[in-house]
């Protein structure tokens, strides 16, 4: 409608809303009236603002009568069937809302219970989704695989390739379109003065092609860039570009000094790129970094990654790998039976945590089911209060289907509201993730509350509505209408079937609580075992850091020896430091770097024994600093230097393996084809890799004797001190940089911290499962209590009669509790049975604990029985306090 007559404009939005609240027949006239008055107001001299205000006020005042008339009109109209259905849905929705609002306490309790369950589930799902389900940022990620060497006598543990093997595989393979080498590379970067230890990867030029990713800035490597002699180039990770280079887009083409070599930055990788084996700050294209020239064939530190050629299946890949391995066998007498294996990248990244995450997700789903059971119980209890209302509706002509539909709609509304609140709860939980160690999970950067998670929340909400709403709805609408009407509004007695349904729910809740509490108990015990592991050395009062003197400045072995001697000397001289030592890798932090240790008198190893051991170069005071026990012979001294005879110390396990039944002192061993060393001492076994691993056989050589040159450069330094890390930071820096200010101090942390990080995974699992178990118990106890209260209220007349006839209140309480106890005990039994059967699922998360641990099961049962007893006792005791007179009056 155009606005003629002076161009006065009625507020468009308000006019539109007016059409919504006015019955169709009248719209024409109503709009005309308000427009006429609007114009007259303006003509009478009032401001446009006043007129618009008047218009809006008219709208608001007309909304209520209008809506009421519209509803009435729709109810009475005999419109065409399809439109009637939509109207009816709308009407049903309004009815459902009103029904919920009419019983605020019930609705609020149900919504809160569900919201808690849904919130926990959504939070856990966000972790599962981010870690396990989110797609990797590669092209066709399922075709990218990591390759491992399985050396038969290493117990089948997947381990690294040697560079020579990598080259052979790359040249011989027909199953892969691209094969790239990757390996650890830790140069020292000098950016703005202070040296900074880079956590990098050295890769082949086609590395990014294997992944199928493009650079976010600049470019990735060119094929010719990994050829020996090419200009050194480097690609930065996105996060390093942001944090260390300020996100400056002019960084491409700039040079950066890495361990004395000038590299040109050619590009930046895409954000949140995940690669196997670490989170590198940058990549260099120099695979010959690992080549024969630098390291002998025996040294294995290349981790190849490959892309499967189009049209090739996994079976063909495996066949190809087997064929190549067989062809290479004659070259490796020591590796008889070596095979190669390919594992998809995704599996490598998350395979180790998948079982635990699935267990945790199952646990939280059980918690949600308990919440649903509670709400179902609530609805069943309250159904008796509504039976009259429903009977009347039924008598007035509503079909059973329609009534059930109505009740289900109420359930759906509650569930959707709970779902929305649950998402908010999950959002709040994400702020706790940091504290419990979610960041240590692989792919943790992908964990967030986003679209797919919210969609999941929606689906879950609808699902729970069906789960908790269906049975109560069917029950409420199924009873005989005539009987209900006759009873009028007075009767509140539940049918036996109703009570039966509630008992089943209680049994289920108690059983699930037993299950979860048992799981939590097992994990707690497991965690306690972990923290009590004897790692073979004294873990307290140790501060550690790593140094990596550059190749440029320290080219000869002698220079490295002098460097570390000076550093250790300076550190020992610090006040508060009782001793200091350096080692190529600290306990609990080693990576699989197998060396081959043989007896010169037995050059071909016994095929039954595994010749691979861990090797460490150490300074003389190392053993004392770490508190590693000397079992036989002696430790290294400063006399064991380059001009003295070559010596070695072996761990107890290695001594037993190589010299079973003999005294190893004075015997010789060779490590990876180096000069033979005489064994001068045997020390206790030490956990090289992690608290959960076993102690590995280890051979130690003096740092000053230049054996095993490739493990002498990057060393970890340990200080025995009772002082705090904060206090020692500056003195340590001075002590180290006095010797050479260009060497970066990396990973300065206490051994306690290393241990905490090592067990952060089990700690995460334990925290989560314990929280879920706690939640489950809380909900289950509420369920037990409310069902008991309801049952008691059903028996009020009986209780009142007994009390009136002279029964003691404790008799009454006893009677009531005995009744409820049967249900609880059944629940406990089912739960214990379930725990015994399902225990195996949790096996991978346990450390030195059997899933069928009887102590834990017993403790859990007793604990829950006690809790349940109290949950039942409270309502029972309350019931027995009601004066019998009251009860009798109501009969």
């Amino acid at each position: 409608m155009s606005e003629r007559n002076g161009g006065h404009r009625v507020p468009r939005l308000a006019e539109l809303l007016f059409t919504l609240v006015t019955p169709r027949r009248e719209r024409h006239f109503v709009l005309g009236d308000v427009r006429e008055e609007f114009v007259r107001i303006l003509e009478s001299g009032k401001s446009l603002r006043a007129a618009r205000l008047w218009y809006w006020r008219q709208l608001l005042g007309s909304a209520r009568p209008g809506c009421r008339r519209l509803v009435k009109a729709k109810m009475l109209s005999n419109g065409p069937r399809r439109r009637g259905m939509v109207d009816r849905q709308w009407y049903d929705l309004r009815l459902a809302t009103r029904a919920l609002v009419r019983r605020p306490l019930l609705s609020a309790t149900a919504v809160v219970t569900l919201a808690v369950g849904i919130g926990a589930t959504v939070a856990m799902y966000s972790i599962v989704h981010g870690v396990l389900l989110a797609r990797l940022g590669y092209a066709e990620p399922e075709r990218v695989v990591c390759l491992f060497s399985l050396r038969g006598n290493m117990g089948g543990e997947p381990s690294a390739f040697s560079y020579a093997d990598f080259e052979d595989l790359r040249d011989l393979t027909r199953a892969f379109s691209e094969v790239a080498a990757t390996g650890v590379w830790n140069p020292t970067a000098i950016v703005d003065g202070d040296p900074w230890k880079v956590n990098g990867q050295s890769v082949s030029g086609n590395f990014f092609d294997v992944l199928g990713v493009n650079a976010a800035l600049g470019r990735t490597f060119l094929p010719e860039e990994d050829v020996l002699g090419h200009e050194p180039v480097v690609v930065l990770s996105y996060e390093t570009w942001q944090s260390r280079f300020g996100g400056d887009s002019s960084v491409v083409g700039r040079s950066v000094n890495l361990s004395g070599v000038l590299y040109t930055i050619v590009g930046v990788a895409p954000p949140k790129l995940e690669v196997p084996r670490g989170k590198p700050d940058m990549w260099q294209a120099r695979p010959e970094y690992f080549s024969k020239e630098r390291m002998p064939r025996g040294s294995h530190n290349v981790w190849p990654i490959a892309r499967i050629a189009p049209g090739v299946t996994m079976e063909q890949v495996e066949a190809d790998l087997t064929e190549i391995a067989i062809r290479l066998e004659p070259l490796h007498p020591a590796h008889a039976g070596q095979r190669f294996a390919a594992t998809p990248v995704h599996e490598v990244l998350v395979g180790s945590v998948r079982p635990a995450l699935l267990v945790l997700f199952a646990a939280v789903a059980l918690v949600l089911l308990i919440a649903c059971a509670n709400v179902a119980n609530l609805l069943l209890s309250s159904a008796t209060g509504r039976s009259h209302e429903i009977a009347v509706k039924g008598a007035l002509g509503a079909s059973r289907g329609r009534l059930v539909h109505q009740l289900l709609l109420e359930s759906l509304l509650m569930a959707l509201l709970a779902g929305a609140i649950g998402v908010l709860i999950a959002l709040a939980c994400t702020s706790l993730f940091e504290a419990i160690g979610v960041a240590q999970l692989p792919r943790s950067a992908m964990v967030s509350i986003n679209g797919p998670i919210v969609a999941f929340a929606l689906v879950i909400s609808v699902f729970t509505a069906v789960v908790f709403g269906l049975v109560p709805a069917l029950r409420a609408c199924g009873e005989d209408v005539g009987v209900r009407l006759q009873e009028g509004g007075r009767s509140r007695s539940a049918t036996r079937r109703q009570m039966g349904a509630q008992r089943v729910l209680v049994v289920a809740e108690v059983a699930v609580s037993v299950l979860l509490l048992t799981g939590a108990g097992l994990l707690l015990k497991s965690y306690a075992n972990l923290t009590n592991v004897d790692a073979g050395f004294a873990t307290e009062n140790l501060l550690t850091f790593r140094l990596n003197p550059s190749r440029q400045r320290y080219q000869s072995d002698a220079e490295l020896t002098r460097y570390y001697e000076a550093v250790v000397q300076n550190l020992t001289a610090l006040p508060g430091v009782s001793s200091a030592g350096a080692v190529s890798a600290l306990p609990l932090t080693g990576a699989w770097d197998g060396e081959i240790v043989l007896r010169p008198d037995k050059p071909v190893p016994d095929p039954a024994t595994n010749p691979h051991v861990e090797a460490r170069a150490v300074t003389p005071d190392y053993f004392e600093t770490l508190g590693i026990e000397l079992i036989r012979g002696r430790l290294f001294t400063t006399a064991d230097n380059e001009s003295a005879p070559d010596v070695a110390i072996v761990s107890d396990g290695l001594a037993r393996r190589l010299f079973p039944g003999e005294d190893p002192i004075g015997k010789f061993v060779t490590v990876s084809n180096q000069r033979p060393c005489a064994i001068v001492g045997v020390v206790a076994d030490v956990n090289n890799f992690g608290l959960e691993e076993n102690a590995e056989p280890t051979v130690y050589v003096p740092h000053a004797q230049h054996i095993l040159p490739w493990i002498r450069r990057t060393m970890a330094v340990a200080l025995k001190t009772s002082l705090d890390q904060a206090v020692l930071t500056a003195p340590v820096r001075r002590a180290v940089w006095d010797v050479d200010p260009t060497v970066a101090i990396a990973d300065f942390r206490s051994m306690d911290r290393i241990i905490a990080d090592d067990i952060s995974g089990p700690r995460l699992g334990m925290s989560l499962l314990t929280s879920f178990a706690g939640l489950a118990i809380l909900l289950a106890l509420i369920g037990v209590s409310s069902v008991m209260a309801y049952a008691v209220s059903q028996r009020r007349s009986e209780i009142g009669t007994r009390l009136a006839l002279g029964a003691q209140s404790r008799d009454v309480v006893g009677m009531v509790i005995k009744d409820g106890a049967r249900t609880v005990v059944l629940g406990l039994a089912v739960g214990v049975l379930g725990a015994l059967l399902l225990g195996r699922a949790i096996q991978s998360m346990l450390f030195l604990v059997e899933p069928r641990d009887p102590a834990v099961l017993l403790l859990v049962s007793v604990l829950l029985a006690v809790f349940a007893f109290f949950a039942m006792w409270v309502p029972a005791a309350q019931a027995s306090r009601v004066p019998p007179v009251e009860v009798l009056k109501q009969m």
Partner: protein, 112 residues
């Protein structure tokens, strides 16, 4: 009486407004006259709700006028009291007077 329904308070007010307005009784004018004379805020929707009820009871009749520019080209719907309406109104007022007859009721002073 006819339909057996009593007149609500607001409905009576509307009928009285129709009498006052004679042949100029439509939505806007009815609303205005009620608001002015009773000092009570009236929304147009309320007026039409009452008019619909009255028309259902056949106490009023209506006819549609010509389109008017001031109404954006829309026409007015004019209302008139029917005979039944007059009777109903008279009865309602008679009832009130009979109940109040002889009682001392507090005086409502004029608000103006």
């Amino acid at each position: 009486m006819g339909k057996g329904e009593n007149l609500g308070e607001f409905e009576q007010t509307v009928l009285l407004a129709l009498i006052r307005l004679e042949d100029n009784a439509y939505g806007m004018t009815i609303r205005q006259v009620i608001q002015e004379r009773t000092d009570r805020y009236v929304a147009i929707g309320q007026v039409y709700a009452a008019l619909e009820r009255l028309e259902t009871k056949r106490y009023i009749s209506s006819h549609v006028g010509d389109p008017e520019p001031i109404r954006g080209g829309r026409s007015r719907k004019l209302y008139l009291l029917t005979d039944e309406g007059e009777t109903a109104l008279a009865r309602a007022r008679w009832m009130m007077e009979r109940m109040a007859d002889g009682l001392e009721l507090p005086h409502l002073r004029s608000a103006r």
